[in-house]
């Protein structure tokens, strides 16, 4: 029996209903794994980031405003902020994980699945380098739009920035990435297409 509630209803209901949270997690954990796999080099980094994202989702539940956008862009916005912002917060998340009893070690199956995910979602090295060189504010925007496929409006919602601001950042990011896009890898091509 599938839960008829929409993602955003589940996210709102999660404040009081752990079942709703579980259902939302079941639906969207894959998207966060893909997000993490694109940014991590080792399976354990993927899991660290996925765990950090979902703990941050829990910590931010009362900040979600359902009329402002769908659940997944909001979750990916949290993920992008976690990556962009700073190591201090990541350290705090690791602290939370420890306090909550820690994660168990990855078994071989997990390890292999994650390696495959990292391979499948690898971003062309040139593009990854290009993204890494962007200032944090532009990088968050560019990643959500170019890698995760959010629209600029969704990315604006996700990052809590005004649409006008995001368009400026995206335009700047695209200009900087254009030289990267000249190398014709699939991911780089997508940059070109989006930047038209």
């Amino acid at each position: 029996m599938t839960d008829p509630r929409t993602d955003r209803e589940l996210l709102v209901a999660s404040r009081v209903d752990t079942g709703a949270f579980e259902e939302l997690y079941r639906r969207q954990v894959g998207a966060t794994i893909r997000f993490a796999a694109r940014r991590a080099e080792r399976p354990s980094d993927v899991v660290d980031l996925v765990a950090a994202v979902w703990l941050e989702v829990v910590a931010s539940l009362d900040r979600y405003e359902p009329h402002r956008g769908d659940a997944l862009p909001w979750i990916l916005g949290i993920a992008a902020n976690l990556c962009a912002v700073d190591r201090r917060r990541r350290a705090r998340e690791r602290e939370v994980v420890r306090r909550l009893g820690g994660r168990r070690a990855l078994d071989d199956d997990d390890f292999e699945r994650l390696e495959r995910a990292i391979d499948a979602h690898a971003v062309a090295p040139a593009l990854r380098r290009g993204l890494r060189e962007l200032p944090p504010a532009e990088r968050g925007v560019a990643e959500l739009v170019l890698l995760e496929g959010l629209t600029p409006a969704q990315a604006a919602e996700a990052l809590g920035i005004r649409a006008a601001a995001i368009r400026m950042r995206l335009a700047r990011a695209r200009r900087k990435l254009r030289s990267v896009a000249a190398e014709s890898t699939p991911a780089a091509r997508s940059v070109k297409e989006v930047s038209r």
Binding site: R5, T6, R8, E9, V12, A13, S14, R15, V16, T18, E22, Y25, V29, I33, V50, A51, W54, L55, V57, V58, A59, S60, L61, D62, R63, Y64, E65, P66, H67, R68, G69, D70, P73, N81, V85, D86, R89, V96, V97, L100, G101, R103, R104, L106, D107, D109, D110, P136, A137, A153, E157, L159, G160, I161, R162, A163, A164, A165, R167, M168
Partner: protein, 344 residues
């Protein structure tokens, strides 16, 4: 949750979920999580954002009925609202856009925002903007907005901006976008009940398409503001909405005011302290036509935000010291036009 067998069947997904659920139960148990969403910010309610949603937000949470009080709005406010409701009911029916036509609206806004420089450094800035929208019944249309010149509430805010290298605050930026059918939120409110009780029931069940809000009196006030703003409603529906506002406990009379465009109006307000951005929200009406002229939001307590969550360059609304006018909107014109280049 850890199993003890030689081979642990739990995937890392299940492991992470267990951690998150632990954390969630902790927060639920500690009362950190309010069961309803944070106060919506009207200015953020862009047509695009709602287009992404496209559907009603029926929040499956218990409705908190008006807190046991018998009163409704403060008597002076209720009297005003009943008079405005009578005026509303007497207005001619507003034309609704037909196929190929658009509901055109023009508004001005003013907002105070917080800019995150990084490392805990922030400054406040103020900025006006104008917005025009053309929205067709099929959800096609055009949004045109222009931001104005930035000012700073204090010399200290300006100094912080300068010290940060005068980051771009997107002054005089024009955004002009055309939308395909279905891309914009274009609710059909033609069939809303004109009976205040029936309408209130729909609102309390949060069953009006595209309109959501916290399940409390504040949320009801917010929803009514959303319904009155830049919509085409039957006069009797508009009248019913004013009657409903008169029944909301906590609604106060502000009295005569001058709106952002210099027009005389009358205003009522609701103060919401039960939020991390406690504010007083005023709705300003034209006393003769009952049209919504504008709205103001003023913070009634210092409001901060966890600046780490957005990172450098992030911009937040609804933040500042008590007394900050965090937002005001002024609705200038509204009517039906035949193309996305026509104005009124």
């Amino acid at each position: 949750m850890k199993t003890t067998g030689a081979r642990d069947p739990m995937t890392f997904e299940q492991d992470v979920l267990n951690l998150a659920l632990k954390s969630l139960r902790e927060r639920q148990g500690s009362g950190l999580l309010a069961p309803v969403p944070r106060r919506p910010r009207p200015r953020q309610r862009t047509a695009i954002a709602i287009a992404a949603a496209g559907i009603a937000i029926a929040i499956a949470l218990p409705i908190v009925l008006p807190g046991g009080g018998t009163g409704g709005a403060e008597p002076a406010a209720a009297a005003l609202l009943h008079r405005v409701a009578l005026r509303a009911a007497q207005q001619p029916r507003e034309p609704a856009p037909g196929p190929g036509q658009f509901l055109y609206t023009k508004s001005e806004s003013f907002s105070t925002s917080l800019y995150v420089v990084g490392d805990g450094t922030t400054f406040l800035f103020q900025q006006p903007s104008t917005r025009e929208s053309w929205i067709g019944p099929d959800g096609s249309g055009r949004l045109l907005s222009t931001s104005g010149a930035v000012t700073f509430p204090t010399a200290g805010d300006r100094a912080t901006w300068v010290a940060a290298g005068s980051p771009d605050l997107y002054e005089h930026l024009t955004e002009d976008e055309l939308f395909e059918p279905g891309a914009l939120f274009s609710p059909d409110y033609a069939d809303l009940p004109t009976d205040p009780e029936e309408l209130l029931e729909l609102i309390e069940r949060r069953e009006i398409p595209g309109i959501g809000g916290p399940d409390n009196d504040w949320g009801t006030f917010v929803i009514i503001g959303d319904l009155l703003r830049e919509t085409s409603l039957q006069p009797k529906v508009r009248a019913a909405l004013y009657q409903i506002v008169a029944e909301i406990p906590g609604v106060e009379l502000v009295g005569r005011v001058i709106d952002g465009a210099g027009r005389p109006g009358v205003a009522v307000a609701y103060t919401n302290r039960n939020t991390d951005a406690p504010g007083r929200w005023e709705l300003i009406f034209d006393p003769t036509t009952a049209a919504l002229l504008g709205e103001n939001e003023v913070l009634v307590a210092d409001s901060t935000v966890d600046v780490e969550s957005g990172g450098p360059g992030a911009i937040y609304g609804g933040v500042g010291p008590a007394g900050t006018r965090s937002y005001s909107g002024t609705y200038l014109v509204s009517g039906v036009v035949d193309s996305t280049t026509d104005t009124l």
